[in-house]
Structures are given as C-alpha cells and as structure tokens.
C-alpha cells in the first residue's frame, strides 16, 4: 500500500537580508494511513517549516518551496493552485498550532467558527454545521458543550481553547492532522489530558497524525515512528521504541543524554550528576553546509564528515540514519 503522504527531497528557503536561509534542506519521509509520526528537533531545525510547506503556508513574499515533491493521496501538492489548496486545508489535511488564541477568531463564537469550516468544506446547511460543531465539542469532552457553542475564545481556558482547535481540525474527518507543538504552552496536567485526547480520537477516526515537537517525552509517549531533524535535514528515522532504545545518530544520542529525567535516579551518591552537554552551536543556515550538518559539534567527526554529506543507511527494522561513523 502506498503512503498517504509522501515528502521527497523537500527544500524550503527563505529570502532574508543576510542571504537565503535553507530552512528545510532535502527532507524525505512517508506517512501511512492512521499512523502517528513524530518530527523532533530543536529550534530552527526546520520541523515547523516542513509542516507549513505541506500545507503550502509559506508566505510567497518571504520564502518558497525551492524543490522537491509532496504527494498526498497520490496527488502532487507543490504545483496546486491556491483554490485547490483551500479545499484541501481544514478538510483533508488540517493543522493545530501551539497557541490556539492566534488561530481562533476572537470576534466569532466557537460554534460559528467550527460550523463555518464544516459548511464550507462539506456544503451542508448551516443548521447541520452547528449540530456538527456541538458533536465535535462533545467529542473533545468540553463540558456543557451546548452552552459553549455560543462562547468566544477569550471566555475559555488555555486547555479548552486547544480542545476547540482539535474539534475544529477534526470536524471534516481529515485524513491527516498536523499538530505543531500542540501542548507546549499548556500546564503539565492539561498537556496529559490533551495528548490522551488526541490519541483516543485518532483511534476513533483513523486520522493520521504528524506531531511536531521539541519534547522527547511527548514523542516517546504518543508516536509510532520518529523523524529527527537537525539544521534543516533529517538525520535519523526509526520506530519509536528502536529510537529510544538504540539511538544511532550522535545528535540523537546527545539529545537523549542532555535531558534531565524523572524516571531515573537523579543523584549518584548524593551528588547531582552533570548532564551531558552538546558543545557548540547550530550552524548558520545562510551559509552552505558542506558535509554532515552536525560535524562541527560531533565527538565522532572525521575529515570525511566535514566534506561529504552522509547518505541514509538502513540499520534494519525501518531504522535509518545519516552518519558516516556509526554505520561504518
């Protein structure tokens, strides 16, 4: 069976005064139907720009998809006109963002906003759209959903707003839901509720999810497969258990050792242990990166790493990595 979403050698660039920023620099991955894929990396690694590229939301005045292919359900998206994209967004592919307040309309009630989306995409009468909005708010377990339909976003708590965003995103039964840091702005107990809700709804509706986050804990607990990005490139991809049990790329290994952990003993002989640091800084994306993007910070780097881009090598079981040294 072919993948629902196929991204191939995607290059997305922004034009700035300092030069062309290669925000996404040759990324490829597949998303199967009903799958949960995590894209993880630190600020500026290109994970959000990858998501915006899929939905063709890169503003034309600042940047563009320079090359590559994005196929959704067998259909190429990179050349589609804006009208066709509008029919796709919020219907077949929808997205939720970190801060729901920036994507909800402050002067419309939440019921109206959800109903609008349903009416536009499914062509049903307004009354049916409102009814669907009620169903969706109940589905995301907003208490007293009938009354909440007539409330404005500012009347809701942060957790409830994110529930409304999820209700709206799922209102037209999309095949793909892209969630960009959906719980980062939320408190710990609310984050747990929202993650549980997303997974439960996925089981019910069969929607595939692309979860974009910097948080390895969130990735471990919600996804089935993970893409690790660094400086605009994919450096490793693996089923979630394999990635956390045997991370291969030195960057992935470094990330896992750098995080303080709740599930292991914090002190050794009464002393707080040192976290492992990744020395140095991420490369500047306006300059061409020769060789491996991580070479300058990598403990294993050799001369070849600094001159030749490492190819993706299959380590078995769907675990692939781009590193000269670990696959030697």
């Amino acid at each position: 069976m072919t993948a629902l979403l196929e991204v191939r050698d995607l290059h997305t660039q922004f034009n700035t005064l300092d030069g062309v920023v290669r925000a996404v620099d040759g990324v490829s991955f597949d998303l199967a139907r009903g799958e949960t894929l995590g894209i993880v990396g630190e600020s500026g690694c290109g994970k959000s720009v990858t998501a915006l590229s899929i939905l063709r939301l890169i503003p034309a005045e600042t940047g563009q998809i320079a090359s590559g292919s994005i196929r959704f359900d067998g259909r190429e998206l990179t050349g589609l006109d804006e009208e066709a994209m509008k029919r796709l967004r919020g219907h077949h592919i929808s997205m939720i963002f970190q801060e729901p307040m920036t994507s909800l309309n402050p002067v419309l009630t939440v019921g109206t906003q959800i109903a609008e989306n349903v009416v536009r995409h499914l062509g049903v009468p307004w009354r049916a759209g409102r009814e669907r909005a009620f169903e969706m708010l109940s589905l995301v377990r907003i208490a007293d959903a009938r009354r909440r339909l007539d409330e404005y976003p500012h009347q809701l708590s942060g957790g409830m707003r994110q529930r409304v965003m999820i209700a709206m995103a799922l209102s037209c039964d999309p095949q793909v839901l892209i969630a960009d840091e959906p719980t980062t702005a939320l408190d710990v107990t609310i984050q747990a509720q929202i993650l549980d809700l997303m997974l439960e709804l996925k089981e019910k509706t069969g929607t595939a999810i692309v979860l974009i986050t910097h948080d390895l804990g969130v990735v471990a607990e919600t996804t089935e497969r993970v893409v690790v990005m660094y400086a605009g490139r994919k450096v490793e991809e693996a089923p979630v258990e394999a990635l956390f049990e045997h991370p291969l790329h030195p960057y992935t290994v470094g990330l896992m050792r750098a995080i303080p952990r709740l599930d292991v003993e914090a002190d050794i002989a009464g002393k707080r242990p040192r976290l492992q640091e990744i020395p140095g800084l991420v490369p500047i994306l306006t300059r061409p990166i020769i060789g491996c993007a991580f070479a300058a910070r990598c403990p294993l780097a050799t001369e070849r790493c600094r001159t030749e881009v490492p190819p993706f090598v299959d380590a078995g079981g769907g675990h692939t990595v781009a590193c000269w040294e670990v696959t030697r």
Binding site: I259, R272, I278
Partner: protein
C-alpha cells in the same frame, strides 16, 4: 526553623486587587500567595514547582522586594527586611539577585554586554573603571563567554549565551541568594543542559543558594535539594527531593508526577492519569482545600476545611486532611 536559614519566609500573603466597572473600583482580589512559609539554607536549592497561576513567580518577586507583600515576613540572614526603608534595603539588594526566563527583555539593547554585566558592580560601588573591566572579563570567562565578546550587544548573542550573560550579571555582586524564575524554560535541550550544569557548578563554587522556580519536574528533580509544590497560592507539599519523588503524599503531587511525560516509549500505556479538568481561577479558588474539585480522594470535609501544612515525617510537610 533554624538559625542557619539564609532566607526565611513566614506566612507570606500577596493579594492583587481586581478592578472593574466604570470607576475602576476594586471588585475582588486574586489571592496569588495565600499564607506561604519556607526557609532556604546557604548553598541550598529550594525548588518551587506548580502550574500557571499557582503563585510561584509572585513569591519570587516578593522575595526580591520587587513587589510588597500584603502580609507576612521575609527574613534575610535573620534580619527582617519586610518593612525596611528604601535606604536600608539598598544594602540587602546586593545579597539577592535574579535570573529571568528571558534575559534579553531585561537588557538594555544600546549597552554593550560588558557594560550590562558591570553595571551592578559600579552601582554598588564595588569596583571602578579598569577594575570593573577586569572583574567583568573574569566573570565572562567563568560563565563560559569569551571576554572579547564584552563589546558586543545583547542581540548578537544566542539564547543560551544571553542566559550566561544574565548569570554573569547576577553573579557580579557576590550575592548569597539567586532567585531563578524559569531560567531554562526558553532554551533548547542541548543548551539547557549547559546552563543547568553551570548553575550547579557555580553553586558549589560560591556556596550560592537558589530559589529555583519552574514548572518542569525533570529539571526540578535534577537541580533541587528540596522542593515545594504549590497549588493556587498555597504550598501543598514540601520535602527533600528524593522523598517527594519516591513517596509523594499530597494527591496533587501524585497527579503532577503521573501527568509528566518521560522519554521512554515503554512507559506510555502503563500509566494512568489521575486528574481531570482545569485549574480553577485564582480569583475564585474553591473553598476548603483548593484541590478538592479535582482530587480523586476528596471527602465532604475537604470542601470546608483548609488543611494546614503539617510535618508528617522529619522534613516532609503535607497539607492534606487525608494523609
């Protein structure tokens, strides 16, 4: 509380008025901090953990005397600083410094990094001219910045480097206590590790005490010696780090721990989340125990009686009627 306490906070209360109506009269109040007591020893890190609106940052600001408490006492080295006149407070200011979540917003964009770090030294009259430059250069080196970057401006530094600048500035006047409010929350994982390591090194080197405020339990567990868990303006549990994580007593602490994610895919289906629902508004906290509306164990008594913080085992304090 023993005499050895560097900072002692007793029954601290901070209410903020809610203004409303045409005449902006006071129509209510937010009890941001509602009777909080704790102490910090020299060289110790006390972590304050809780969700948004629990009052943890308000406590930090009150300890720094950036805002005045509504009631309660703050003792620094045994001396009450709550009602000191501004002149007398001056000498104490040097002893308590702060590091913010976003150091950039606290730095003058027109001043060089060296001037920013050296400013407190000159303000307190500790050094002058060349002496200041030398001291700043050594501070830069100590926090892992190149001394030749003293002439750069704040915007020329990365996020992690700016946090190092903030630390250098706080450190410049040899404080006893640093209030660190979410100092690593805005940083990427790899940089966060660098800053946490630096904070621990500096503590051991200079015998600094930290009041470390964060919502991140894993960071807390790494850096703290003791931890106070807050919920809607009150401390619900206070214990040594290990005790708190291994034998939490308060249902809210249990809930927080159960809700935190761990970087281990095998754990994902084993856990059950304990709490549902949102944190109530701090302007209208529930009566009795603030947590009773979300607590799975709550009984009728919890709705009327606010439980006091009791010592249930040496050094382990819990505010719960049932534990």
């Amino acid at each position: 509380m023993s005499d050895a306490a560097l900072l002692e906070v007793r029954d601290l209360v901070k209410h903020f008025p809610i203004l409303g109506g045409l005449l902006q009269r006071q129509v209510g109040q937010v009890k941001a901090v509602d009777g909080v007591s704790f102490a910090i020893r020299r060289g110790e890190t006390l972590g304050l953990v809780g969700e948004s609106g629990c009052g943890k940052s308000t406590i930090g600001k009150t300890v720094l005397k950036l805002i005045e408490p509504t009631a309660g006492r703050i003792l620094l080295g045994g001396e009450d600083v709550t009602e000191l006149p501004p002149g007398a407070m001056w000498a104490h200011r040097r002893r308590i410094q702060t590091i913010f979540q976003d150091p950039y917003s606290s730095m003058n964009p027109r001043l060089s990094a060296g001037t920013i770090v050296g400013e407190p030294l000159e303000n307190f009259g500790l050094t002058r001219g060349r002496e200041t430059d030398d001291r700043v250069a050594s501070l830069f080196t100590r926090v892992g910045l190149r001394p030749d970057s003293m002439r750069k401006f704040a915007h020329e530094f990365s996020g992690g480097q700016r946090q190092r600048l903030g630390i250098a500035k706080a450190l410049s006047v040899n404080p006893d206590l640093i209030v660190a409010d979410e100092p690593v929350s805005a940083l990427d994982v790899s940089v966060q590790a660098q800053v946490l390591n630096l904070l621990i090194d500096l503590q051991e080197e200079y015998g600094l005490a930290y009041l470390f405020i964060s919502h991140d339990l894993a960071v807390m567990r790494h850096i703290s010696h003791r931890i106070a868990v807050m919920y809607l303006g009150r401390i619900v549990e206070l214990a040594a780090k290990r005790t708190l994580f291994e034998t939490p007593k308060h249902p809210y602490t249990e809930a927080l721990l159960s809700a935190a994610t761990a970087p281990d895919p095998k754990r994902r289906r084993q856990r059950k989340r304990i709490v549902q629902g949102d944190v109530p508004s701090p302007a209208k906290p529930p009566p009795g125990c603030h947590f009773h509306t979300r607590c799975p164990y709550a009984v009728a008594e919890c709705k009327v009686t606010a439980p006091p913080l009791r010592e249930v085992a040496p050094g382990h304090h819990v505010a719960c009627l049932l534990r």
